[in-house]
Symmetry: C2
Subunit: 380 residues, 2 copies
């Protein structure tokens, strides 16, 4: 096991009707900004619950944080927040709203342009903020990271050091999500686990089993959710899985990969394809191209998660990758670039960008632009 | 899934040589108390490392926090701490030292007798404190609870609301532990998981799998540790399991039991038997007496953790309980009260105490003194 330091300070408030806890959690005497995406929270009743809890507080609303939130939008929120001396923020929506709010929170404590914080990869300070989550996927509600896009330059990067003070998750607020968003959320959660798990064997028995436990849960609940997305216990398991998949709980003492995400972010930046959808396309290809390096862990994953126990090692690896791709397909997602008209020119552009950055990714630090292009070609 | 609020603020600093992080973590300008049990930390080198890190700090040492720490001892530490205006404490040792330190930390912020805090079950305030853990077992290094004994009245109770600010866990510091302490630590960890897991089915798929993941890990590593307790990766897995077993991570949204602990505490209070040893005796008997109520979960546990899949339900339950008892026996522990000369008079006394308190325990709230006595008779 690798040495590690773990700390996660976010208070997780979870369950049916728990948005009613909000009024107890909001600190008194603050100038509050409430941030939103589009209008879905007005349809599912969450907006009304939040406004009710804010009675007696001084607050301003900021609407329009888009999927793959852009620094261009967030600069406006930061300007508004500075003009109102905002010192507490409540994000209401999915992972994009939470991610965007993290940059607003950091930007309010920074004098220069907010993109500096993203490029630095680290927020030195931020105003306290909370989240009311309505879409399980990114884990942003209980971690310190955020991913921000920049339209001007078609870039997408992550920064860190921004934990929500608290997050409220009511599975009922997910009942009205479109099927495609649920599918992408399940794929995103699945791949978050894989990025922390599918590296090498023998690092931590507990972490391995916790990762496998989330994967097995997703595989078990996904077809049931397709049948009935208003089953409370199913959606509660999905929502808890998404949070636990990326809050550091399964990352203790183990190497991490993140190649699928690094490539996926580029595909999103270039084509605007939803994040979870890109991951469903890239992950099986990553496994296929890196099958030698990841051999032992793919075999363990195949055996424990997919009950693949017979055949030669090569056959078991092949079947395990196929089962992974089939799983994403069963969610209703595309699993090939060609289905979404991503062609060779985009592959070349991703290769160029990887090379330009001059860093190689993955647990072995060997995924250069050349390897990324191999992975993308395997995903065609 | 039940509604829940989860928060765990402790910074976990884990790995080989990580005690060297201590000097960076100690806040400046504090009047520090360092608390110890017996002298084992002088043999394993931990004492020297701690003293090295404390160079330049103002500190006082308090020695002699015993296993099953007593309020009588801790009152002395509180008096010393008050006289020195102590405002930061570092506990160095096993769970008893950490538990005792929690009462010292709370007692330093309380004007009356420290036993009031234990009887109230909750510390309103406490001075910040940290732990250097040398014995994996109680989970106290990353939770807010502590169990304190009172010699005068032969009582043992828990109180809460005291999270360590940080805890440092170096698996190497466990290499010199006596076999019996390791066995009790494994049993304690196993039963902590069972208290949160072996209730009813269908509450949370993730929490079930995480609990089963720790149990399976303990079953896998225990015989290997018996062969070589200086294998770093084995002891790291054990140490991480013990912390994860009782830091709230597997308790989200699920009912809890704690009957085995409630009975075990009484046996320890009456006979001074080591905590983990009492649990190894009581758990199989609890499962046996409550087999109807816990039927579905015992079957799931048997199948997933012990691969018990054939036979009638009654046969599978019987075999699963037997495998649990055999596991404790394989650790070198007693699994029957008669082996430790606990007789009918003690059973009657535990029954009397349960009835006197007038509360019934367990996930169904039905374990009265009468049922506790049944469990103890089944453990004879």
């Amino acid at each position: 096991m690798k040495n590690f330091i773990f700390q996660n300070t976010t208070r997780l408030i979870f369950g049916k009707g728990m948005i009613s806890e909000l009024h107890k959690q909001i600190p008194q005497g603050k100038s509050i900004m409430v941030t939103f995406g589009g209008g879905s929270v007005k349809q599912n009743g969450v907006y009304d619950q939040v406004i009710e809890a804010l009675k007696g507080h001084n607050y301003v609303e900021f609407w329009g944080i888009e999927p793959n939130p852009t620094v261009e939008t967030l600069r406006k929120a930061i300007d508004l927040g500075k003009s109102k001396n905002v010192d507490f923020i409540i994000a209401v929506g999915g992972g994009s709203v939470v991610d965007g709010t993290k940059l607003i929170a950091a930007g309010l404590k920074y004098d220069g342009d907010a993109w500096d914080i993203v490029k630095k990869g680290y927020a030195d300070d931020s105003v306290p903020f909370a989240a009311i989550l309505t879409l399980p996927a990114t884990g942003s509600e209980m971690n310190e990271g955020a991913v921000i896009s920049r339209t001007e330059t078609v870039e997408k990067y992550a920064f860190t050091n921004t934990f929500p003070q608290f997050s409220i998750l009511d599975p009922i607020s997910t009942f009205t999500l479109p099927d495609f968003q649920i599918a992408c959320g399940i794929a995103d959660t699945f791949v978050h686990v894989m990025e922390q798990y599918l590296t090498v064997c023998g690092q931590s028995r507990v972490m391995d089993r916790w990762a496998e436990g989330i994967l097995s849960t997703l595989i078990e609940i996904a077809p049931e959710i397709r049948k009935n997305k208003q089953d409370y216990d199913l959606m509660a398991d999905f929502m808890l899985s998404a949070t636990m998949a990326l809050n550091g709980f399964i990352a203790m003492g183990v190497k991490q990969d993140w190649v699928t995400h690094m490539i996926g972010h580029e595909v999103t930046a270039l084509h605007g394809i939803t994040h979870g959808q890109t991951l469903a396309i890239i992950l099986p290809a990553t496994m296929s191209v890196l099958r030698e390096q990841k051999k032992d862990k793919i075999l363990q994953y195949g055996e424990r998660v997919w009950q693949v126990t017979s055949g030669s090692e090569e056959e078991r690896i092949e079947l395990t990758i196929k089962k992974t791709e089939d799983f994403f397909r069963s969610l209703g997602l595309a699993t090939r670039l060609s289905e979404l008209n991503v062609g060779d020119d985009s592959i070349a552009e991703v290769e160029r960008r990887f090379n330009e950055r001059g860093v190689a990714f993955g647990e072995a630090g060997n995924v250069t632009g050349t390897v990324a292009a191999q992975i993308l070609r395997a995903a065609k």
